[in-house]
């Protein structure tokens, strides 16, 4: 077969989102933050634990959002980086007695490295090929974690048990509450970092690549570097989320990090609206609470409910929670005028 010249009129990988539409205004952000801060006062321990998981998944979805909404690349393999982060934290805490807070930056750096390295070959791929490579990564990850070779550190199929940290400075709050505030602090810090990253020179480079790779390289952007960088940053943040997840769940095992987790995170991003950072928390709420509701309707049906809802979102509100938020905002504006 010869090399035929084809005129390719490809659909864009991701629809463009203007930079300003990616975040919330300062006022709204503060209200959301205040609400999140007050939750533990009114809630029971189990709810606090679920809110912690919500924040953690929100962080992982945010990481995917930076990659896809920011630089227009796909990943169905976020569960792999989440797993690496979780295992890094667990191993450091349990085998080397490192303080739990210190394990997070280490997990982040290791995952940044892993993501950067995986991004090296992956950056030559676009669209479906990247989705395929990351899909393969996520499918293969549990088997890699079970390997005999690593069993000394990872505990093999059995996994590792992690001890829950106590509140410091002899504060009189429960472990769950402390962990919630700790997670909240980490998440807020990373959220601010991400917002600033997308507003910076690098962020503009990401978006230029997302919208038109050829035009971006013509403007002097090092496409290869920024694509791998986006992959690395996304993997790093996912790793921190994984580390937090390990501390909160107190347990890591290979089969907690299957392709299902990667699919959930991907779904969370679509539900929250691709490229809308605050949507990450909406998406996370969806992937945490909807399976519970679905299972209360019928056990084993949660996958089907997930899928059907995903189709509904694709067809009815393709921009996810962002679209809903915009519609609400416009409705409010009209009310004010009346």
């Amino acid at each position: 077969m010869s090399a035929i010249e084809d005129v390719v009129t490809e659909a864009p990988a991701v629809e463009a989102v203007p930079k300003r539409a990616m975040t919330l205004g300062a006022g709204t952000s503060l209200v959301v933050l205040a609400l999140l801060f007050l939750v533990p006062i009114f809630a029971k321990n189990f709810i606090i634990f679920q809110m912690t998981m919500l924040l953690i998944y929100g962080l992982a979805v945010l990481a995917l959002n930076i990659l896809t909404g920011g630089s227009g690349q796909f990943s169905l393999g976020q569960s792999a980086f989440y797993a690496i982060g979780a295992y890094t934290s667990a191993i450091l805490m349990e085998q080397y007695n490192v303080n739990y807070a210190l394990t997070l930056p280490i997990a982040g750096v290791i995952c940044f490295g892993a993501g950067f390295l995986f991004g090296q070959p992956a950056l030559r791929l676009s669209g479906v090929y990247l989705a395929l490579a990351t899909f393969a990564l996520a499918t293969a990850m549990p088997q890699l974690l079970k390997l005999n070779f690593f069993e000394k550190w990872t505990g093999g199929v059995q996994g590792l048990v992690v001890t829950k940290p106590d509140a410091p400075f002899s504060l009189h709050i429960s472990q769950d509450t402390w962990l919630y505030y700790f997670t909240l602090a980490v998440v807020v810090a990373i959220y601010i970092f991400s917002v600033n990253l997308l507003r910076s020179r690098s962020g503009r480079a990401f978006m230029a690549i997302r919208d038109n790779e050829i035009a971006a390289s013509a403007m002097g952007i090092d496409v290869a570097l920024y694509k791998t960088l986006a992959f690395g940053v996304s993997a790093g943040i996912t790793g921190v989320a994984g580390g937090l997840g390990a501390i909160a769940v107190q347990f890591v095992a290979p089969d907690s990090y299957t392709i299902t987790l990667a699919i959930s995170l991907f779904l969370g991003m679509v539900v929250g609206g691709v490229g809308w950072l605050p949507g990450s928390i909406v998406g996370a709420a969806f992937i945490i609470f909807v399976p519970n509701i679905a299972e209360s309707i019928s056990k084993g049906l949660s996958g089907a409910v997930f899928g059907v809802l995903l189709f509904l979102i694709i067809f009815l509100v393709p921009h996810g929670a962002r679209q809903v938020a915009v519609v609400c905002q416009q409705a409010l504006g009209r009310l004010r005028k009346m």
Binding site: M1, L76, G127, V128, L132, L137, G303, A304, G307, L310
Partner: protein
């Protein structure tokens, strides 16, 4: 030496299945430029249908034909209902659609037939083939059915009007439409045929991996590896890729120390990444030159 021949033959037998999956993936990729992540689940669901038919007392080959028909109609229905409206949508939306389909089918199969592992019959038996110890009759049957299927597809695409129309619609949609081909239905037909081919793969591999909702995970990954190796734009390449990947998997498992069943999926991952990095178009794929 006997071990070597044995492994090559076993590799060709599993390779036949990978070739079918790769062919199904490539047919849909040709038609709509997207990878069907739900291909394995569609095949799994068809296999369950055939199992259910056999439970109701229909003989194997009757169930086989009925399942093919079910797969064909199901494939067309999925395309018409779910993916035709997404034709112009961004890649992300399509990927999300495939993921949704994956999770719906997997969950429904689990709900209807639950997650316990089931035995699946083989019509070929499992005695040694022609008295030799090298392969079993089921493995020989897998190879035989696949070869028949490939010959059938070759004849269909080369010598029938509708086969020609499908090729035209896949390679130059605009021109095909100008000469009066209904390209939209050709895409649906491609989906139907891909689903039917997938169900053949499912029914042939089920006696080996046993029947359960997650049975196709590894097979699909190897199917993807085969499709990528052969080139996503070449059905012929996909078939060759399938056999090569099957042989490679068996030889790696036998001769590289420390590589056993537990490294099955990482090997597929390594294979996919290597091919994508070294030769992204695959062995027989067409290089697509973009005009700026």
């Amino acid at each position: 030496m006997e071990l070597f021949t044995n492994q090559i033959l076993a590799g060709i037998a599993t390779g036949a299945i990978y070739a079918c999956m790769a062919l199904a993936v490539v047919m849909i990729y040709q038609a709509i430029d997207h990878l069907n992540f739900a291909q394995g689940e569609m095949a799994m669901f068809s296999t369950f249908i055939s199992w259910q038919l056999m439970q109701w007392g229909i003989p194997y080959w009757g169930a086989f034909v009925l399942t093919l028909a079910f797969g064909f109609v199901g494939g067309i229905a999925i395309e018409r209902l779910l993916f035709k409206p997404l034709a112009k949508a961004p890649i992300l939306t399509n990927v999300a659609g495939f993921i949704a389909l994956y999770s719906i089918i997997n969950s429904c199969a689990g709900l209807i037939w639950d997650f316990t592992i089931k035995q699946y019959p083989t019509p070929f038996g499992s005695s040694p083939f022609l008295g030799s110890q090298l392969i079993s009759t089921h493995q020989a049957g897998m190879i035989g059915v696949t070869i028949l299927l490939l010959i059938g597809l070759y004849v269909f695409f080369q010598f029938t009007r509708i086969g020609l129309a499908m090729r035209a619609a896949a390679s130059l949609p605009e021109s095909a439409r100008l000469v009066g081909i209904n390209t939209s239905w050709m895409i649906a037909l491609g989906w139907g045929m891909a689903a039917a081919i997938g169900s053949i793969a499912g029914m042939l591999i089920a006696p080996v991996v046993f029947l359960e909702p997650n049975m196709m995970g590894g097979v699909l990954l190897y199917g993807f590896a085969a499709a990528v190796l052969g080139g996503l734009t070449s059905p012929f390449g996909a078939v060759v890729g399938g056999f090569l990947v099957g042989i490679f998997e068996n030889l790696a498992g036998t001769y590289i120390p420390g590589v056993g069943n537990e490294l099955k999926l990482p090997i597929a991952l390594a294979l996919i990444i290597t091919v994508l990095v070294v030769k992204p178009a695959g062995l027989f794929g067409r290089h697509i030159v973009k005009r700026v």
